[in-house]
Each structure stands twice: as structure tokens, then as C-alpha cells.
């Protein structure tokens, strides 16, 4: 048992429920993502059959709308990115010289949340109808008032996306912490293999972009479940009222969605670019030409991706100056891509090409991306976009970009298949699949450029375009058939494929090819190091010796639990900790001692979350079934989280590692800061939404028209005092813990808890008062649905209140532990909690003036 980190063998089903190992989870991601490819692909084939002739005579109008909408959602969210992150999970730790991700259990939790979010998406089909308003979910068609029937399936889709986004956020925090704290000695950021670098930039974009999406989805879920009115217009007869109290509703969704949505294009495409670069290097035997400029271009694109989103909104009512600015930024973002494309082409020209299956898919992806990129530039020009927006030109363009990305990832599947399985696939079948795939792809998507006048998302089109649609449908089936070849090839090769050694590819140089195929559980036969300029594996003695010689290398390498709080140690000197960590790591390497890395809790937490969300989807109907499910799921989730927190789980930091630029920031602390950076965007998007709808309404008129006189400053001021004082007490708890004053630590933490509870009670009293006022303007009280001002007030301060509640649960747990003697002489756990609590305090420092004074 000890040599397997407490995990059952791979042949056991329980292994796959218990595993926290990055390679196992990578495989789980790959298989699950391929399932969603088939799911989304089948839906696409259904509506392609529908489009053989104009009209909805096969699926019916709602069936067609559901198929189109969920196809987009499944492919964008549940297939492409998770497929890429299957490789990222498997390959990145190997490429950077780490034995796993920084927080293995969190990684497992990400996967299970992803899987259950997909199941919730599937369940939505059985709740009447699923979401049918297009994958962009534009307002107001995304709100219950505009959804036919009860709309419970649509609510489930929104909740499934929230669950998916939670998985992505945890994954982003985990990957960033890993890549900045666990690189092999001597491996600078600029030197890490290009695939890992592409993942690094991808997770940076994910960290911020998905936080904005999470805000949009939480607000939308609130509109669905709580009855807020962010995305709804008032109706004046059969038309939207021009004097509605929320004129910014529709544009707000577009801003939030596309602030996420455009970086999402690169979030999808960057890993594919990384795969292409790896394959081009390996199969041309040539280092990437202009590697430095390739990397700089990727960094530029990652930054620019956040300032181009309004080119998706040229046809909305935004003003001309902002359109012009965003046209310029959009054209600008194509320039770094030009450089990357030329780099790949020149690498090919300078090297000696071997046309293996992974290379063919990579080359195919490049060709398709060039077509997709050029046709996209048309859409970046305002005047052309007026004509092309909402047509099949857009559909063809983004499939040439997004599915080009998927094409490269299929190349990646062939490329790393021997590493993952230890078997070689059938090369001939691989090439045949590529041929069929490439033919099917172009027959499917290219006619859409010709039939570009077909309106997007509509099943009716002019008769003259039928031939092109028929060709596209035939192409779709050919493309689908190519996957049967791939699945057959990869499945049969598991048994019949030739055994491969560590490196089946000549000229592949990254670290994953230096170990056996598949790699052992602990990845490397020693601690990886590039200190001498080439990859070496250090033995136990060398690690300890080197660590003692340069204790700073591991002075911050204290062991920490994975789940939110650091282990409580006694007073240890930095040197002793350094040596202890080095020994621990060395033992891990030699296999003398292995911590148990099996955990069932990530699965249970996610299952609980799934039941909760499914219950929440029907709460607004008042159904006892749904209410019970929401309550039971909530209890199961919280119980599982407590179980996960109490479970001993040991994931020590590496004894020696390259950690620029976070050398002095322990991994728990870095993880917390990274999470908080994402939370800043979440709250920023909530506050930004408030500012946007208030500007749309009229900033100064807002207060007079929409807010009752009973909404006064004093409750907010009292809560400001309470939170500031509680923050002060947290730092005093740290001081007391440092001084080993148990009484002081307990008193300060208990005081923090009491003040937090006071904050919530005060807020509860204030809300209750406002709910029940009866004035001339607000005769039925001022509740969540009264107007847009009340919606923004309750939801934004409610989100903050939820953060306070989570903080209080952690604070209560820590108070009990402090009472039992924890934290004395080691205040790190209190510091990490404090980072969160002070952040909650900072948010309130802005909510107070915005919602109580101004």
C-alpha cells in the first residue's frame, strides 16, 4: 500500500474514485471530455440533419433551439478546455519536474465538479426543456420570463455552468501555484517547455476571465431563483418598454459575457498552440524558430485578450468612439498571432518534417487556423461586422478557429498516447483518420462561408442555399465518422499496440520523455534538477546536502495540508524545517515512505454540490421534492467539506525548486492570494454591474427614484465598524499566536467570530426592516424584485454576506483548534485565514459608500 500512495491498483474501479494523482486525473479528464465531444457532436449531427432542408420538420422549433444551444455550450465548456486540461494535468507536472500538482485533492475536486456539472447539464434535458437561447445566453432570453414552460432545465444549465466555473477557478489556482512553486531546480519560467508555458498563460486568463463569467452566472441564477431583475426589461404590451427602470439589462449581460468570452477563445486555443509548437519541434527536429518572440507574442495576446471584447457588440447600442477603440485593439491582437504562425511555418521550413499522425493534425490545425484567423479579421472591422454579424460567416469563422484548436488537441492525443498508455497506436489508421477528418471538417464548415447569408441559429434559409447546407451535413457525418476510426485505433492499441520505451519520438526533449511510459506514480527516479544545464535526478543524500548548503531554497517549504489550513506544528526553526522537508521529500523519492493520497471526499463534495444545484433549479416552483433535494444536498456538501478538512492529507513542498517570482511565498499563501485575485474580479464584476446599470438609468436620479428614504447610512456604518474591528482582532490573534499566548489567540479569534455574527445580525435586521416598509412609493416593501436598485443592493451585499458566513465557519473551526492548543508559535494558519477575512473587509469598504452613502 505504501508504494501506491494508498491507492488501489488501476484495474480497480475504486482507484478512479479515490485518486488524487495528476496522471490519473488527466486520464479522467481526457475520457470525460471525449464523452462530451460525442454528446455535443451527436446534437450537431441532429441539427445538421434538420438543416438538409429549410424548416424545423425533424426536431421541431424548440428541439432545434435546444440542440443548437446545448451543442455550443457542451463543446465550448465541457469538451475543448477540459480536453486540453487532461493533457495539462498529465503533462505539466512532468514537464516542469514536479511530482504532482501543488494541491492534489483540490485537483480531484476540480475534476469531480467538472464531471457533475456535465451530468447536471445532461439532466436538464429531462426537466421539460433545456436551455434554448443560444450558447451566448443573451438577455433577456436567458431569464425565466422569456423561457417557455417552467424553464427549470434552463436554470439547471445556469447552475451547471456555475459548478463548472468553480472547477475552473480551483484548477487555475492549483496550476499557477504549482508552476510558480514546484519547478525543478534551474528551470526558469522562460525555459519551461512551450506546452507548459501555453498552459501557464491559459490559466492566467482563466483566473480572471472565468471570475467575470461566474459573476454573470451568479447574477443570472439569482434572477432565476431569487427573483432579482438584473437582466429583465419591463414589458409595455408586446414591446419592451423604453421607460423601463432597467435600460442597461441586455447590454450588461453582453459586457459580462464577452469580457469572459473573448479571452475564452484564447483559453481554448492556447493549449492547442502549445501542442502544435511541441509537435512541430519534435517532428521537424528543429527548435521553434524565434522561440523568444513566440513566447512574447503569447504574453501579448493574453494581455490584449481582455481589451477586445466589445467587437462582439458592434451591433448593440454602444457608442461609436468605443467601437472604434475596440476595432483597433481587435486588429492589433491579430499581429502577435501573425508572428506565431510565421514562427511555426519557418520551423517547418528549417527542419526535416516527419509526417506522423500528431504532426499531420498539428499542420492541419495551423492551416485551418490561418483560414479562421483571416476570416475573423473581417468581423473586427465595424462596417463589415454590420453585414456579417448574426450570419453563417460568424459560424464558419469561429468553427475554423475553435475546431482548429480541437484539431491540434487530437494531434496531442496521438502525441502523448504512447506516454500515457505505454503502447503505440496504429500509425496507418491515424493517418487515415486525419484524411477523413480534414475532408469532413472542410466539407462541413467551408460551405458555410459560401452560404454566409443564412441567419445564425435559425432553421429557415433561402432555397438557393440548400446545396451548401446539404454539403455541410454530409461533411458533418464524415467528420463524425473519422472519430470512429480514432476511437477504434486508440482502443484496440491498448491491447495490440507495440510496447514503447520512455521516448518513442526522436527529437522529443521535454522531461516527460525522460521517464518510463507510463511514468511511475511519483514521476521521477529522483529529484529533478537542471542546475547543471541538463536534466538530472538527484538522490536523497544530494538533496539533503544541497538543501543544507542553501537553506533558503527550502526555508519556505513547510509541509501544509491541502484544503485551506496549514498544519499546526510546534516551534521549529527554519533550518530544522528545511532539513525536515528535504528528508521528507527525499523519502518520497526513494519510496521509503509515502503519504496516503487517496481521498473519497472530493467525489462526495461534488456529489453533494450536484444534488444541491439540482434542488435549487426547482426551488422557485415551491416543489417539496426540489426543496428537500436542495436542503439534503446542502447538508451533504457541508458535511463532506468538513470531512475533507479533517482528513489527514500530506503534500509537502519540494525540497529544492525554482520559485521565481514567488520565492518567499509558501504554496498555501500563494494559493490563497491567487484565489483572492480571482475573487477581486468576481466582486469587481458585481460592483461593475451595479455601476453599469446605475449609469444606464442615470447615476444621480437612481438614489431619488429607486431607493426608499428608510434605507439609511447608520446600519452600514455600524457594520463597517464591526468588520474593521474584527480585522484588527485577526491580526491580534496572529500576534498572540506568535507569542504563544493561547488565551490571547482564543480571545482574539472568538472576538472576530462574535463581531462577524454581529455583522450578519445587523444586516438581517436592516433587510427585514426594508422588506416590510410601506410607503407611498413602495407600498409593498423594498425587496429583491422591487426594482433594479433593490436587486443590486441585496445581491451584492448578499454575496458579501455569504463570504462573511464562510469566513465565520472557518473562524469557528480555528477558535476551537486554538482552544485545544493549536497555532502557538506558528501563526501561518491564522495569517492565511486573515488574508481572506481582510479581503472581505476591503470589499465592504467599497460597498458601504456605494450602497449606503452615494
Amino acid at each position: 500500500m505504501s508504494h501506491d500512495h494508498g491507492l488501489p491498483p488501476k484495474s480497480s474501479v475504486s482507484r478512479w474514485f479515490l485518486t488524487t494523482n495528476h496522471k490519473d486525473i488527466g486520464v479522467l479528464y481526457l475520457i470525460t471530455a471525449l464523452f462530451f465531444l460525442v454528446f455535443g457532436g451527436t446534437l450537431a449531427l441532429l441539427f445538421r440533419l434538420e438543416l438538409i432542408s429549410s424548416g424545423a420538420d425533424l426536431l421541431g422549433s424548440m428541439g432545434y433551439n435546444q440542440a443548437v444551444s446545448t451543442h455550443g455550450l457542451l463543446m465550448v465548456f465541457w469538451f475543448i478546455s477540459p480536453f486540453a486540461f487532461g493533457f495539462a494535468n498529465y503533462v505539466v507536472p512532468l514537464q516542469i519536474g514536479a511530482d504532482d500538482l501543488a494541491f492534489p485533492r483540490l485537483n480531484a475536486l476540480s475534476y469531480w465538479l467538472y464531471l457533475f456539472s456535465g451530468i447536471l447539464m445532461g439532466v436538464s434535458f429531462f426537466q421539460g426543456t433545456t436551455f434554448a437561447g443560444g450558447w451566448t445566453m443573451y438577455a433577456p432570453l436567458n431569464t425565466p420570463a422569456y423561457i417557455p414552460g417552467e424553464g427549470l432545465g434552463a436554470t439547471s444549465v445556469v447552475l451547471a455552468l456555475i459548478m463548472f466555473t468553480a472547477a475552473v477557478t480551483l484548477g487555475s489556482v492549483n496550476f499557477l501555484t504549482t508552476m510558480y512553486r514546484m519547478r525543478a531546480e534551474g528551470l526558469r519560467m522562460r525555459d519551461i517547455p512551450i506546452f507548459s508555458l501555453s498552459i501557464n498563460l491559459t490559466v492566467w486568463m482563466m483566473l480572471f476571465a472565468f471570475a467575470a463569467l461566474l459573476a454573470a452566472l451568479m447574477i443570472l441564477a439569482s434572477d432565476h431563483i431569487l427573483g432579482t431583475t438584473y437582466f429583465q426589461y419591463s414589458i409595455d404590451g408586446t414591446t419592451m418598454a423604453t421607460d423601463a427602470d432597467n435600460p442597461g439589462a441586455s447590454l450588461l449581460w453582453a459586457h459580462l459575457f464577452w469580457f469572459f468570452g473573448h479571452p475564452e477563445v484564447y483559453i481554448v486555443f492556447f493549449p492547442a498552440l502549445g501542442v502544435m509548437a511541441e509537435c512541430f519541434q519534435t517532428f521537424t527536429g528543429r527548435r521553434l524558430v524565434g522561440r523568444k518572440w513566440f513566447i512574447i507574442s503569447m504574453v501579448l495576446v493574453a494581455l490584449q485578450s481582455f481589451v477586445v471584447w466589445m467587437h462582439h457588440m458592434f451591433l448593440t447600442g454602444i457608442n461609436l468612439p468605443i467601437k472604434t477603440i475596440f476595432m483597433a485593439t481587435t486588429i492589433g491582437i491579430s499581429l502577435p498571432f501573425d508572428l506565431m504562425v510565421f514562427s511555426l511555418i519557418y520551423t517547418m521550413a528549417k527542419g526535416r518534417v516527419r509526417f506522423t499522425t500528431p504532426f499531420l493534425f498539428s499542420l492541419g490545425a495551423l492551416i485551418l487556423f490561418i483560414i479562421g484567423g483571416i476570416t475573423g479579421v473581417f468581423l473586427g472591422a465595424i462596417v463589415l461586422d454590420y453585414q456579417f454579424r448574426g450570419t453563417y460567416w460568424v459560424v464558419a469563422h469561429f468553427h475554423y478557429v475553435m475546431v482548429a484548436g480541437a484539431t491540434a488537441l487530437f494531434g496531442g492525443l496521438y502525441y502523448w498516447y504512447p506516454k500515457i498508455t505505454g503502447k503505440m497506436y496504429n500509425e496507418r489508421l491515424g493517418k487515415i483518420q486525419f484524411g477523413v477528418y480534414f475532408l469532413g471538417f472542410n466539407l462541413l464548415y467551408f460551405p458555410m462561408f459560401i452560404a454566409w447569408e443564412t441567419p445564425r441559429r435559425v432553421f429557415v434559409y433561402p432555397d438557393g442555399l440548400q446545396i451548401w447546407h446539404t454539403m455541410a451535413t454530409v461533411g458533418g457525418f464524415i467528420l463524425g465518422a473519422s472519430f470512429l476510426i480514432m476511437f477504434y485505433n486508440l482502443f484496440v492499441s491498448l491491447w495490440r499496440g507495440e510496447d514503447v520505451g520512455p521516448n518513442p519520438w526522436e527529437y522529443a526533449t521535454s522531461a516527460e520523455w525522460a521517464v518510463s511510459s507510463p511514468p511511475p506514480l511519483e514521476n521521477f527516479p529522483g529529484v529533478p534538477s537542471y542546475a547543471t544545464g541538463k536534466l538530472e535526478f538527484l538522490d536523497d543524500e544530494t538533496v539533503v546536502e544541497r538543501t543544507e548548503r542553501a537553506p533558503g531554497a527550502a526555508a519556505h517549504g513547510h509541509a501544509a495540508t491541502d484544503g485551506g489550513t496549514a498544519t499546526d506544528g510546534g516551534a521549529v526553526t527554519a533550518r530544522a524545517a528545511t532539513t525536515a522537508t528535504a528528508m521528507e521529500s527525499a523519502h518520497e523519492v526513494s519510496g521509503e515512505e509515502h503519504a496516503n493520497h487517496a481521498s473519497f471526499w472530493p467525489f462526495l463534495v461534488s456529489l453533494g454540490g450536484f444534488i444541491t444545484f439540482l434542488g435549487l433549479s426547482g426551488v422557485r416552483t415551491g416543489s417539496v421534492f426540489y426543496l428537500t433535494m436542495a436542503a439534503a444536498g446542502g447538508v451533504a456538501t457541508i458535511g463532506s467539506l468538513v470531512g475533507m478538512t479533517r482528513e489527514p492529507f500530506h503534500a509537502p513542498e519540494m525540497a529544492i525548486a525554482e520559485r521565481w517570482p514567488f520565492e518567499r511565498v509558501e504554496k498555501m499563501k500563494l494559493g490563497m492570494w491567487t484565489f483572492l485575485a480571482s475573487d477581486i474580479v468576481l466582486f469587481g464584476a458585481f460592483i461593475g454591474s451595479y455601476a453599469f446599470v446605475r449609469v444606464a438609468y442615470g447615476w444621480t436620479a437612481w438614489h431619488h427614484d429607486l431607493i426608499p428614504a428608510e434605507h439609511v447610512t447608520m446600519p452600514g456604518l455600524i457594520n463597517t465598524y464591526l468588520l474593521l474591528t474584527s480585522s484588527f482582532l485577526v491580526v491580534l490573534a496572529m500576534v498572540a499566536a506568535e507569542r504563544e499566548s493561547k488565551r490571547g489567540t482564543v480571545a482574539a479569534l472568538a472576538g472576530t467570530f462574535a463581531l462577524g455574527v454581529g455583522f450578519l445580525i445587523n444586516k438581517g435586521l436592516e433587510w427585514n426592516h426594508l422588506f416590510h416598509i410601506s410607503t407611498e412609493t413602495f407600498p409593498s416593501g423594498w425587496n429583491l424584485s422591487t426594482n433594479i436598485a433593490s436587486s443590486t443592493f441585496y445581491l451584492t451585499t448578499g454575496l458579501h454576506g455569504a463570504h462573511v458566513t464562510i469566513g465565520l465557519i472557518i473562524c469557528a473551526y480555528m477558535t476551537v483548534r486554538a482552544w485545544n492548543g493549536a497555532y502557538q508559535g506558528d501563526d501561518r494558519a491564522i495569517e492565511y485565514f486573515g488574508l481572506y477575512w481582510h479581503f472581505v473587509d476591503i470589499v465592504w469598504l467599497f460597498l458601504f459608500p456605494l450602497f449606503y452613502i452615494l
Partner: protein, 88 residues
Amino acid sequence: MDWKGYTAIYVVLFTFATAQAVVEFAGLVDSAYWAAFALIMVLSVVKAVGVAAYYQHLRWEPRAVTYLVLGGTVAALALTGAAAYSIL
């Protein structure tokens, strides 16, 4: 930082919060809205920077952590600012 330093920061934060409310109680929000707006928001920013720098110890962390926080802040401000400007 010792408890005296933390206490001094707390006193400043408490005073600034009170000052924000005083701006409203004094009627400045009604008589000179945008001046009051600027004053109150500046006070909030100063308080937030104080909490981050001293209670969250950003002052003593590597600059990279500050850049990480600024990254999130700039993204949120870009979204808010550009979106609001787009409908002016």
C-alpha cells in the same frame, strides 16, 4: 509589525470610516454630490490600501504578490470603466 502598529492602523481606518459618514451627515452629498463622491471614494481607496499593505502584509511580501492583486483590480476596473463609458 507589533500590536502597537496594528492598533495605529485600526485607529486610522476607524476615523476614515467615520469621516465618510460625516460627509453625508454634513449634507455634502446633497449640496456638492461629485465632490462628496470623490472624497468618499478616495477615503475608501486609502482604507483598502491600508488594510492590504499592513493587515495583509503586502508591504512585506515580494512585489509579485502586489502585481497579482493589481492584475485582478485592473481587470475589474477595465470592465467597469469601459462598459460604463460605452453607454455614455
